[in-house]
Symmetry: C2
Subunit: 208 residues, 2 copies
DNA sequence: CATACGTTGTTAAATAATTAACAAAAAATT
DNA sequence: AATTTTTTGTTAATTATTTAACAACGTATG
């Protein structure tokens, strides 16, 4: 197992979540076509992904749910876990915190940052919000390695730079403004406006 | 110009936003490498995308900003515009409304839905929230063709079904729970947990 | 016991997306 | 006026991802 495709990584994360639900219902084995159905993809793709991570099911019984969960964990998780910070406690930042709060053991949002004095020192869904000027210090002390940017677009580049200088290794930018980071920082950008415009385009061209 | 690649559609949306900013600064022409720099992609990709939409720049002067904006508009927008509804006014739903409010002329969020009585009949950033039971009626009356799902994961399938039955043509699902829609409905799903786990994976394997 | 069936694992083919290569031509420079 | 530079447009090559094809084989069935 050398280089897992990016798309496979994404699907593994999704398989795991589906599998956790299955496990909680007492299901011990699952077929590729069952996983496929849940994720609405093809069974072949599921089998191929599972092949790539070197797991092997039992013929005619499918995959052992718990074993697969554990193996995906070995691949995706770090043993000690990773700490995450959210920068920008607007609605989106707050939504991110809610999403994760207490759900993952291996990824924890341990700090939030904002420049608005009304938000600083308040606690949002269990996560304390600090002033953004404290970012370098707290990122270092708390060993934060991933930053999520949910500030207004205009401030994204400056926040990104702060995060990089503070030593994070990965950035998730939810701002429509692309940011520049050094090559050694992993950057994932997601732009809600683009997504909606894409849906609109395909709605428009539907059936043409 | 027959089939534009999905990825090109996404980039066109992004180019346009960058171009609008340029235009507002009074810039009349732009080079492929300038666009590329903003989006941090390669100039070749920009030129190729622009070629695919059949536009042609002027040698050594680059592309006419306004013409390109207009042409991208012709491709992405519908003449009459499209109406959008947000289902689920938690932090994420609220964030979506804020993002779009008044910014796009061709895509308007015209209604919000929630089942929580505390939210029903209130106005969120200019968008009125209705009870989810009114969805079929309002979607029809307001000619809503796109639904954005921002409810808690568990309710996603049921909301999705409601939207489809009400007649929307496209769905944007921000829930980690995959939903099933008929083939003729365009579905885009985005899962924040997966994104973060993906970043975590690449942070983990960085340099291995 | 033999045959049919269902399901995995894997290789090969097809499709999609990116990147490279380079000709063409206008502007700038010598 | 010739040469160099810059930048577009396009085709070709490469890389990434998905899909198809099918052998292998255990289980069920007759």
């Amino acid at each position: 197992m050398k280089h897992l495709p990016h798309k496979t990584i994404e699907r593994l994360s999704q398989y795991r979540r589906a599998l956790l639900i299955c496990a909680s219902k007492g299901k011990t084995h699952i077929f590729s076509h069952e996983i496929a159905k849940i994720q609405h993809i093809t069974p072949v793709q599921v089998r191929r992904d599972i092949m790539l991570i070197g797991y092997t099911g039992t013929l005619r019984k499918g995959y052992n749910v718990q074993e697969l969960i554990d193996l995906i964990g070995d691949i995706l998780d770090t043993h000690e876990g990773l700490n995450v910070a959210v920068v920008g406690i607007g609605n989106l930042g707050h939504a991110m915190i809610n999403y994760f709060n207490g759900k993952r053991t291996k990824l924890s949002i341990v700090a939030a940052f904002d420049s608005n004095p009304d938000k600083v020192d308040r606690i949002f869904s269990g996560v304390k919000c600090h002033h953004i000027d404290q970012l370098p210090e707290i990122v270092k002390n708390e060993k934060i390695s991933i930053g999520i940017i949910t500030v207004p677009a205009g401030s994204a580049p400056e926040v990104s730079e702060k995060l990089v200088n503070a030593g994070v290794k990965g950035i998730l930018n939810y701002t429509p403004k692309p940011v520049n980071v050094p090559k050694h920082i992993y950057l994932e950008e997601y732009d809600m406006i683009t997504s909606l415009e894409k849906v609109a385009f395909f709605v428009k061209t539907h059936g043409e």
